[in-house]
Symmetry: C2
Subunit: 138 residues, 2 copies
């Protein structure tokens, strides 16, 4: 239960690798894919999603590639995971609004809300900077 998909795993590997690279050096998708051992075409799809929401910036054409959309300390693991897997939803009844007609009577509902918050908090507390081994204090 609650398992990250391959896509999510690949997404993390890919963007963490990008975060280890020099800040302003455009990185070829094919290089990233090779470095983190992910099918290039699949990683392409993932980086397209990153690009749409600004997690990475893409450059097309000769000399093109990817760089981070903002500094590594401003990108959290939550950003990355939600970018490709969608929001953290332990159960359908826990959506932003209130689709769950049982919400106010169901005693399980608050438990899922709690799970959601905890998981989000944990993932939001980890930045790419840390994951890339560029800690503030070594």
């Amino acid at each position: 239960m609650m398992e990250l998909t391959r896509k999510g795993e690949y997404a993390i590997r890919g963007i963490v690798y990008l975060a280890t690279r020099p800040d302003d050096q455009v990185c070829l998708l094919s290089d990233i894919a090779a470095a983190v051992d992910v099918p290039p075409t699949f990683l392409a799809k993932i980086f397209q999603q990153f690009s749409k929401i600004g997690l990475v910036k893409s450059y097309r054409g000769t000399g093109g590639g990817f760089i981070l959309g903002r500094t590594a300390d401003k990108i959290t693991l939550l950003d990355v995971v939600e970018a490709v897997e969608g929001p953290i939803i332990p159960n359908r009844c826990v959506t932003g609004g209130d689709d769950c007609e049982r919400s106010h009577t169901c005693k399980v509902h608050p438990v899922w809300v709690s799970v959601q918050k905890q998981v989000r908090d944990i993932l939001a507390a980890v930045s790419l900077k840390e994951l890339a081994g560029k800690q503030e204090k070594p």
Copy 2:
């Protein structure tokens, strides 16, 4: 991401309903299914899984049905969820043993371990007694 399946949702609904019933009254599967609005054949499969690990006790034949395998305060939401969804595994790298060759180098690994622990702790802290509205202190 991390979404409970229908099976998990049905499992919770079913066993919580059973917990609301008088302690020693055998309950028909068909009655439970009707009460919690779950396909009876599907709920049957779920309760078979419960039965195997002792979460419920089953009685066959005329006058048969199900009762809880132990008192409602001794069954946690974690027990129920893991019974049908398997262990809480946020990522493949977080298994009981250590299948992940990266475990000791990968900086993401401890994050998943943390997520796993938090989720398990939350779910383990909630018993069927509470969910069934039979709180110790009302």
